[in-house]
Symmetry: C2
Subunit: 170 residues, 2 copies
């Protein structure tokens, strides 16, 4: 067992020993979802004030709304959420490369078969060159999608990894 | 401003007031990623013992490895992670419907234009009928992908929303 797997086991033992929230319902109690980046420096629970059971939390590279659409539709149409809080962040890795750079790195590290799989899956890494503009663009994408009802409240934010602050963009 | 937006602002003010982790580096310090579900009843930080800055956390509906592939490749190839901890959970919404059910709900709630967008994007909601089998299938998918080097350590787990425990499946 790896050290990381051992850490999951010991953390689980400690967490479950004092766990008292086994009664929570499946649908988020406060009917909202947070979409943010997978970045290791973000703790959405603490930074954005999410109580256990209150909100779906979707995380991917760059907090991409395009990439998260499947989960967003499930959250809204099957589990009743009606508000989206989208949070990108300063210092995001997605600001540092272009799609073709990522394809080049995959080819160098993993070879032609891996690039063939990228091509077959039409995988777009969805990087972005400018942070606030990317927040605005993703919010606009969600507002334009027929899969997101007009009644859904959508806000776009930036989390600052340097200060721990979250500020509204749109 | 909505009550949820007000909560983000007040939580951010409290969190940033005592924030001391502004120095953390972009790549995860412990070089691993956790893939889990967006479910509101999961707090990965506490339940799986993730220290701020140590691991990428990817979350989507059902902890789908297929859906997370873009983020996983970025995590490994661009940001140096070498281990994947995949955690699905009991009581998951993805156990409760089939893809055609979700299409039917979208059609009923949002109409033909929304279904046309689902079809255009070839959106598969990726539900699964059995929990442990789904963990095994997703781990097998990652192990078979040319985009995941053989050197990457992969484990599959189930988090129990009733008890707060996380147990290893594969």
């Amino acid at each position: 067992m790896s050290a990381i797997q051992q850490n999951v086991e010991s953390s689980s033992a400690a967490y479950s020993a004092t766990f008292t929230k086994g009664h929570l319902a499946l649908p988020p109690a406060k009917k909202y979802l947070v979409l943010t980046c997978m970045d290791a420096r973000i703790d959405p629970t603490q930074a954005f004030g999410i109580e256990l059971g209150d909100a779906h939390v979707i995380r991917n590279a760059g907090a991409s709304a395009v990439d998260a659409l499947r989960s967003i539709v499930i959250s809204e149409q099957l589990l009743g959420t009606t508000e989206i809080v989208l949070v990108k962040h300063t210092g995001c890795g997605m600001l540092t490369f272009r799609n073709e750079d990522a394809y080049g790195i995959v080819e160098k590290n993993l070879g032609q078969e891996a690039v063939a799989e990228l091509n077959e899956k039409k995988l777009n890494f969805l990087p972005f060159p400018e942070l606030e503009a990317a927040v605005e663009k993703d919010v606009a994408f969600l507002k334009a999608s027929k899969l997101v009802p007009k009644s859904v409240v959508i806000s776009g934010w930036v989390y600052e990894v340097e200060t721990g602050k979250t500020r509204r963009v749109v």
